[in-house]
Every structure is written in structure tokens, then in C-alpha cells.
């Protein structure tokens, strides 16, 4: 039985852990940055319309960051995030504008197609054991071609006004698309933390061999991760279609880099096994803040990429330095050397690249 005292202690421990986490740092940075921007714009930035624009363009970065997080949590990469998003957006646009499909059906079809593409990618990776990097590079190429074939050189903008209105709707200055992204993030967090399927995903990413010994099929987890990743990209495509003035071949073209930047800044490890939904969302906030600041001081848009690059570099290098520092401290206290995570050595040795579709 757990007493209230215990619970208080545990809550304290959770709080302590949180206070030292990446998410806490990001939260502070976000709040401070936001307030600083507000001060710099003499309060204008804190007012309704500005908040609304700020959040409006935050939805897609959050969703693609989450899509990448999902792939990363089993140690996979998804290079096709942008291409799949663009393809799905164009598909929905075409369905609505040219084929006259009603908006709800078109949206549903788009999301399903995106998830299916993710599923096929995952199955392909598992079946052929080709590195996921290369496979998603291949699917990215194919999807880019498909997107172009769908949309050609035109911009599709005569689709459902209802969807447009929903995309622009912002009760209490909170855009619906932003709320959609938040709901997706909350669902993903709940799935990863609470659902058996989500825990299996993380277990397979954290220690594939151990997961396999506990009866968790790492192959299935890889397929599931890619499917979920595709699903989230599909949702991102919906928010993009709803809030953009029109869709064309340029949609998704600049999604790839931010999709990696958000999880990496948010504290997700590229080796799999960790997931940081809150961190990813906050990292998207930070990147959006940089963009907003750039607009505020009317600087060249290129500053954004430059700064994000530095932030990513700073995050990983800083994290690494802290880790080695901790390890050094750890070894002086603890005499027994920490066992190196012997990831899948013995069982995997049986077949070249067995566990490693990564």
C-alpha cells in the first residue's frame, strides 16, 4: 500500500527530476523569451492578434516534431516527413477541389493514406532489413515525385471554405489548429506513458534485445512507430492545408530540418528509448520564438535557420559535456564500473544486422 506520505515524497522526487530536465530549461527559455519579446515590442506582442498569429504557425512544427519523435523513440529516422506531409496536403487539396469530395472525407482519406504510407515504409524496413535512413530517403524521393505529379505547377486553393474557416478560427485567440496539435501531443504523451502498446514501443527502443526476450517483437514496434509517424504527419498536413492560403509542391519542402530540430532540442535521444513530448512541443515553441523575434526586429529570415542550427549544436554538445561530467563524478563515488549497455551483442551476432534495421 502506498501512503499519502509516500505519494508526497514521490511527487517531490518527480518535481526534482523535472526541475533538472531539459523540459524545465526549455520552459524557462520560452517564458523568458516570450516576455522579452513582449517588452521589446512594448506589449504589442502580448496582445490578442499577435498571440493568435504566433500560435497559428506553431501547429505544424509541433506535429512534425512529434512525428519525428515517434520514429526516433524506436531508434528509427523518418526522412520522409516533409515529402509525406506535402503529398498528403496536395492529395487532400486535389480530392476536395478537383474530385469534389466533401471535406471531412477528404481529410480522413488524407490522414489514412499518410498512416498507410508509414505502415508500408515500416513493413519494408522490417522485411528487407535495409537501414531505415535509406528506406525513408527512398520513400521521400518517391513521395516528392508523387506530390509533383498530383499538383503540378499550380497552387490548389479552391477547396472547402469550411476547412479554411476552421483553420483560421481562433476562439479566445487560441487557433483551432494549435489546439489540434496540443491534443495530438497530449494523446501521444498519454499513449507513450500509459498504453501498453506505447510502453512496448519505448521498451523496444530502449533495449531491443531485452524487449525481444520479454516477448516484444521489435519488428512490430518498428512498423508501429512508422505508422504512427505517418499518422502524425497526416494530421500535420491537415493543419497545413487548413491554415495555408493554398497547397502546392512547396508544402513540406522545409519540414525536414525542423522536424529533427524539435525532438533533438527537446531532449530525445537518436538512439531510441526516450520520448519527450513536452520537450518537443516546447522546442517547437522556442524555434517559433526565434522566428517571431526575427520578424519583430525585421531581420533577414535566414537568421532563423542559422540560430536554430547553433541551438541544436549547443544542445547536443552541452548535453554531452554534462553527461561526461556526471560520469566522471559517478565513477569517483561508485567504485563498480557501470556496465556498458551491451546492446544486442550476443543474439544479434547470429545474423548480420539482425536487430539493426537502423
Amino acid at each position: 500500500m502506498i501512503t499519502t506520505n509516500d505519494r508526497g515524497g514521490r511527487a517531490g522526487a518527480v518535481l526534482r527530476r523535472f526541475s533538472r530536465s531539459t523540459a524545465m530549461t526549455l520552459l524557462c527559455v520560452t517564458v523568458a523569451g516570450y516576455l522579452a519579446l513582449g517588452a521589446a515590442s512594448s506589449g504589442e506582442f502580448l496582445q490578442g492578434p499577435s498571440v493568435r498569429t504566433f500560435l497559428q504557425y506553431l501547429a505544424t512544427p509541433i506535429l512534425i516534431g512529434l512525428a519525428q519523435t515517434t520514429a526516433l523513440c524506436v531508434g528509427q529516422l523518418n526522412l520522409a516527413v516533409g515529402a509525406l506531409g506535402g503529398f498528403t496536403a496536395c492529395l487532400m487539396g486535389i480530392l476536395m477541389a478537383d474530385a469534389g469530395v466533401p471535406a471531412p472525407i477528404a481529410v480522413a482519406a488524407g490522414v489514412v493514406v499518410a498512416a498507410l504510407v508509414g505502415l508500408v515504409t515500416g513493413v519494408f524496413i522490417v522485411a528487407t532489413r535495409i537501414n531505415g535512413f535509406i528506406v525513408t530517403l527512398g520513400t521521400m524521393t518517391i513521395l516528392l515525385g508523387a506530390q509533383y505529379r498530383l499538383a503540378g505547377t499550380r497552387t490548389i486553393d479552391d477547396y472547402s471554405p469550411t476547412l479554411r474557416d476552421l483553420g483560421r478560427a481562433a476562439p479566445l485567440n487560441l487557433p483551432l489548429v494549435f489546439l489540434t496539435a496540443l491534443v495530438a501531443a497530449a494523446l501521444l504523451a498519454a499513449f507513450m506513458y500509459g498504453a501498453i502498446a506505447g510502453r512496448r514501443l519505448l521498451a523496444a527502443g530502449g533495449n531491443p534485445l531485452a524487449a525481444r526476450l520479454s516477448g516484444i517483437s521489435t519488428d512490430r514496434q518498428i512498423v508501429l512507430a512508422h505508422t504512427l509517424s505517418g499518422l502524425l504527419v497526416g494530421v500535420a498536413a491537415v493543419t497545413a492545408t487548413a491554415s495555408l492560403p493554398g497547397v502546392n509542391t512547396s508544402v513540406g519542402g522545409d519540414w525536414l530540418l525542423p522536424s529533427f530540430a524539435a525532438p533533438i532540442i527537446g531532449g530525445v535521444s537518436l538512439n531510441g528509448g526516450s520520448v519527450a513530448v513536452f520537450g518537443t512541443v516546447l522546442a517547437a515553441f522556442v524555434m517559433r520564438l526565434i522566428d517571431a523575434a526575427r520578424a519583430q526586429f525585421s531581420l533577414d529570415p535566414s537568421w532563423v535557420n542559422f540560430l536554430i542550427g547553433l541551438v541544436v549544436l549547443g544542445t547536443v554538445v552541452g548535453g554531452r559535456i554534462r553527461q561526461t561530467h556526471l560520469e566522471k563524478k559517478g565513477t569517483t563515488h561508485e567504485r563498480t564500473p557501470p556496465a556498458p549497455a551491451s546492446r544486442g551483442q550476443t543474439a544479434d551476432a547470429a545474423l548480420p544486422n539482425a536487430g539493426g534495421a537502423r
Binding site: R199, A203, A210
Partner: protein
């Protein structure tokens, strides 16, 4: 006669280049502790993996309570009633203790993890081990010993009828190990069969009822009562004494010459305290210790891969600071044959000749760093012949060779470099008896030609066969030194006593170094 739970006959398992299991039989009866013994590489871990569905056997039968079963996945094995603690760390670092313990069948409601329901069984398993641990803590925050205990708790949770423990005490303190043995006894009282794999024969004799001994992938003693056998019988069966009693030409190291390598009071960031040793020309110095005693870590620190925090390293009598294995090789002529052949020793996907000549490219290189391919091949060819490496050609990938031949390739690269000191770490792990013998002769001959060798081994026979002096290491300290008289019974007794005598007795070692 109690009920036979699991029986296997004529189990065969083949990996590329090696038949890991070759006709193994085993019979496990309810309510007994069954010891599974054998030297490193004899096939114990492979057998356990076959029994738990990790590797499907290539041939042979498994019967569970008299009915034939096919265990294709670990989950099937668990459902059948076979639980296991593997040698490798099999915990998810980012999960809590409770979640790791219940990983195989987490309590759930409508597909959602029920974290409350997780704690009770986790606490019960932890309590059974006498372990006071908060089930909410993340596994990555635990110490190695705690993680090991959590793994055992995890195996307890599946409530198996057969529980396989692969080296469960390797990183436990004597007190923790004793707790574990009590649990084992309680389990057998409940009619569970516990299979116990350990290198520590005292432990085996203390708790086991029956024993199976594997050698070279075969069972040389099958499910026999342990009481019928003495300590020595078992050791003889494990090592196959017939092979080891070979005649070798005598060797006379000079005890007075300047040591090629001397460590004086070395302390490292890994926790080594006051380690002193000396290796003289023509001498084989054995460094014996159990897995986890810190032997390889010591060498890696000396080679500059880890921080040395105190003491002095002397090469040929002059104090030296070694910053990297490269410097150790090219400036001081020290070669290190690693114990971890597949990960640190050979380049599996590279041809043999590159594997061998990697250490001498610097010497072979001419203007612009050009290395003549012909010269490279002739160096490699020489060594392939000298060591009797069985390969179809120099272009064959090292990964396609058998374990013993891979190890020879790994050694060949240091012989090519013509080092002045060789540090050999567990040279015959996972190597069959015949190659092992060849290796012993080889090392002996090398020492006879004047090459000093520091032999790290947890194989007592090996150390007693080869070494002139044996240093015993435990818990990152030198516990003492024994001059070798090559008499197995006397020597093994002394060495084992040194390990278990926990009082610091590094005095003799220090005296010797000075």
C-alpha cells in the same frame, strides 16, 4: 523420484563458423537445483538461449512434462513455465523498477498500463530477495548490483516452474549472494527447478543437487547427482585434463632483469587502488580474477583509454606517460590482445590481411603514405602460416572464420607489430579445446623467445599451465601473488583462498614489484 519438468536430447545449434551446441542433453526435475557447468565458450549460454526460445535449435528434441514442445520465442518459453536471468543486462533503462519487473505481462486495464497494480507484485518480488528498493525508481539510476537483483526479481515475477540463472552472482556481494541462495532454496521447496550457471564452484557445491557439465558444445556429464562427484572430478570434466597435461620446453625467466613494464601503486578513475605489478623479459605473469574484478579496465587505463589518478607506470625502468593505444604501440611497443574479440579485436567485415597488418602500416608506409599491397600480403601470409590460420585466402573476411581462427588473426596483428610486451586478455574464451592448446603452446614459445607476456585470465587451468607467477585481483585491487609450481590442486587452493580472503593482502605484491 520427482517429476521431470524439462528434458532435452541431442540439441544442436550452429552459428557461422562454429557448432555452439553439438548433441547436448539435459533433464530437469522439479524441486531441485541443477548446476550447469562448463568453461567459457563451452556452450552454456547458448543452451540457455535454446531452452528459453531465443535461438531455435537446429536439431534435437525438447519435452516439457513428457510432451514434445517447440519454443520459438521467449514468450512461448515463459508461457510454458521457463523463466530466465540472462548474462546480459536485459532491463529497459528508462523504465521504473516495477515496470521492468512486470515487463513480460504488465497489468493493464483496457490497454492502459495500470501502474498501481504494478507495485504490489514488484514489491513482493523485491521483498523475496530482501531488497529494499523503491519500485518507482528508474533502472538507469541503480547500481550494477541493484540492476542484477532487479533482473532476478523480474524472473521471479513470471513464477516459472523452471528458473534459469546465468551467472547471477557475478556482480553481487557475498551477503547479496547469500540472500539469493535462500530464495533459491525457498523456490525449490515449492517444487520449482532452478538451473544455476556459475564459475564459482564453491557456490555450485553449496546449493546444487544435480549437475550437467558441458565441454566444447557437448554434455560430458549429464544430469548426474552432484554428491557423487568431487570438486576435482568436476574440474577435470570441465577442462578435459588429457589436453592440458602437455609437455612444453622449459623456460627460465630472469628474475633480476629490469621489468619491461612495471606498475607502481596505480590508482585509476575506475576505482583501482594501489595496483603494482612487474613483467620481465621472457616471463609470463598471470593476472587472475573473476569476471568484474577490474583486470581489463586496469589495462585500458594503462593504455591511456581511462584516467590514471595516481602511481607510476615504468617502461624499461623509465617512467612513462601513455596517452593512447597508438602511443603504447608505436613508442613503447606494447600490444593488447583484447578479451572482446568480436567488438574490439577483429574487423569482422574486413579481409584477413588488413586485420593483420593494421598495426604495421606505419612501418610499411613509404612516400605519400603508400603501402605496398605485395609487402602487406607477404607480412600477412607469413603470420597466417606461422600461426596456422585456416582460411581460404588472405582476402577472406575475418568474420567468416571460426572463433579460434579469429582469435589467431587478432593475435597475429600484434606479432606483426613485433611488440616488446604483449598483454593477452582471456585469449581462449570461446575457443575449442584443441585451438586452446595450440594457443597455450604459442604463448609459451613466444615467452621462450624472450617476449614478456601479461596473461589476464579467469581460467584457472590456463593460468596455472602458463604463468610463472600469478597475481590475484579482486575488487580492483591486487589481493596477492603466488609463485606458480604448476601443480593444479595446490595452486588452485591458494589462488581461491586469496580471492575470498577479503582482507587487503597486497603487501606481497608490492614487495615483489620493488
Amino acid at each position: 523420484m520427482s517429476e521431470v519438468l524439462l528434458e532435452c536430447r541431442e540439441i544442436v545449434k550452429v552459428f557461422p563458423g562454429v557448432r555452439a551446441l553439438d548433441g547436448v542433453g539435459l533433464r530437469l526435475t522439479a524441486g531441485s537445483v541443477h548446476a550447469l557447468l562448463g568453461e567459457n565458450g563451452a556452450g552454456k549460454s547458448t543452451l540457455i538461449k535454446v531452452l528459453t526460445g531465443v535461438h531455435p535449435p537446429d536439431a534435437g528434441h525438447l519435452t516439457w512434462r513428457g510432451e514434445q514442445v517447440h519454443l520459438r520465442t521467449p514468450l512461448e518459453a515463459t508461457r510454458t513455465g521457463i523463466g530466465v536471468v540472462h548474462q546480459e543486462r536485459n532491463l529497459i533503462p528508462g523504465f521504473s523498477v516495477a515496470e521492468n519487473i512486470t515487463l513480460q505481462n504488465p497489468p493493464s486495464r483496457h490497454g492502459l498500463v495500470d501502474r498501481q497494480a504494478m507495485n504490489a507484485p514488484a514489491l513482493r518480488c523485491l521483498e523475496e530477495l530482501g531488497l529494499d528498493l523503491d519500485p518507482h525508481r528508474l533502472v538507469r539510476e541503480l547500481s550494477v548490483a541493484q540492476q542484477q537483483l532487479v533482473e532476478i526479481a523480474k524472473a521471479l515475477h513470471t513464477q516459472s516452474e523452471v528458473l534459469l540463472l546465468d551467472e547471477p552472482t557475478a556482480s553481487l556481494s557475498p551477503q547479496e549472494a547469500e540472500n539469493l541462495f535462500q530464495v533459491v532454496r525457498r523456490l525449490t521447496a515449492r517444487n520449482t527447478c532452478v538451473v544455476f550457471v556459475s564459475h564459482k564452484l564453491e557456490e555450485v557445491f553449496a546449493i546444487s543437487d544435480t549437475v550437467t557439465v558441458l565441454r566444447d558444445g557437448r554434455s560430458v556429464l549429464e544430469s548426474a547427482p552432484l554428491a557423487d562427484h568431487t570438486h576435482d572430478d568436476i574440474v577435470n570434466l570441465m577442462v578435459g585434463r588429457a589436453h592440458t597435461a602437455a609437455k612444453m620446453l622449459p623456460r627460465t625467466p630472469e628474475p633480476t632483469s629490469v621489468p619491461v613494464l612495471a606498475l607502481d601503486g596505480i590508482c585509476t578513475a575506475r576505482g583501482h587502488q594501489d595496483v603494482s605489478l612487474a613483467v620481465r623479459p621472457g616471463e609470463i605473469v598471470g593476472l587472475y580474477g573473476l569476471v568484474g574484478a577490474g583486470r581489463s579496465e586496469l589495462v585500458k587505463a594503462v593504455l591511456g583509454l581511462d584516467r590514471v589518478t595516481g602511481g607510476e607506470i615504468r617502461v624499461d625502468g623509465t617512467p612513462a606517460r601513455i596517452a593512447s593505444p597508438r602511443q603504447a604501440l608505436h613508442e613503447f611497443g606494447i600490444g593488447y590482445l583484447t578479451e572482446n574479440r568480436k567488438e574490439e579485436g577483429v574487423f569482422l567485415e574486413q579481409p584477413i590481411h588488413r586485420n593483420i597488418t593494421v598495426t604495421v602500416w606505419k612501418k610499411l608506409a613509404r612516400a605519400l603514405g603508400v603501402v605496398s599491397s605485395a609487402e602487406e600480403r607477404s607480412v600477412a601470409q607469413n603470420l597466417v602460416e606461422r600461426l596456422g590460420i585456416r582460411a581460404s585466402g588472405l582476402d577472406q573476411n575475418a568474420g567468416e572464420l571460426s572463433g579460434g581462427n579469429q582469435q589467431k588473426v587478432s593475435l597475429a596483428k600484434w606479432l606483426a607489430a613485433d611488440t616488446r610486451l604483449l598483454i593477452v586478455d582471456e585469449p581462449t574464451v570461446g575457443v575449442d579445446v584443441r585451438t586452446k592448446h595450440v594457443f597455450h603452446e604459442l604463448l609459451w614459445e613466444l615467452a621462450r623467445t624472450g617476449l614478456p607476456i601479461l596473461l589476464i585470465s579467469s581460467d584457472l587451468t590456463e593460468v596455472i599451465t602458463l604463468a610463472d607467477r600469478v597475481l590475484v585481483m579482486a575488487d580492483h585491487r591486487i589481493r596477492g601473488e603466488v609463485g606458480n609450481d604448476h601443480h593444479y590442486e595446490r595452486m588452485s587452493g591458494r589462488i581461491i583462498r586469496l580471492i575470498h580472503d577479503r582482507a587487503p593482502s597486497a603487501v606481497s605484491a608490492q614487495q615483489d614489484a620493488k
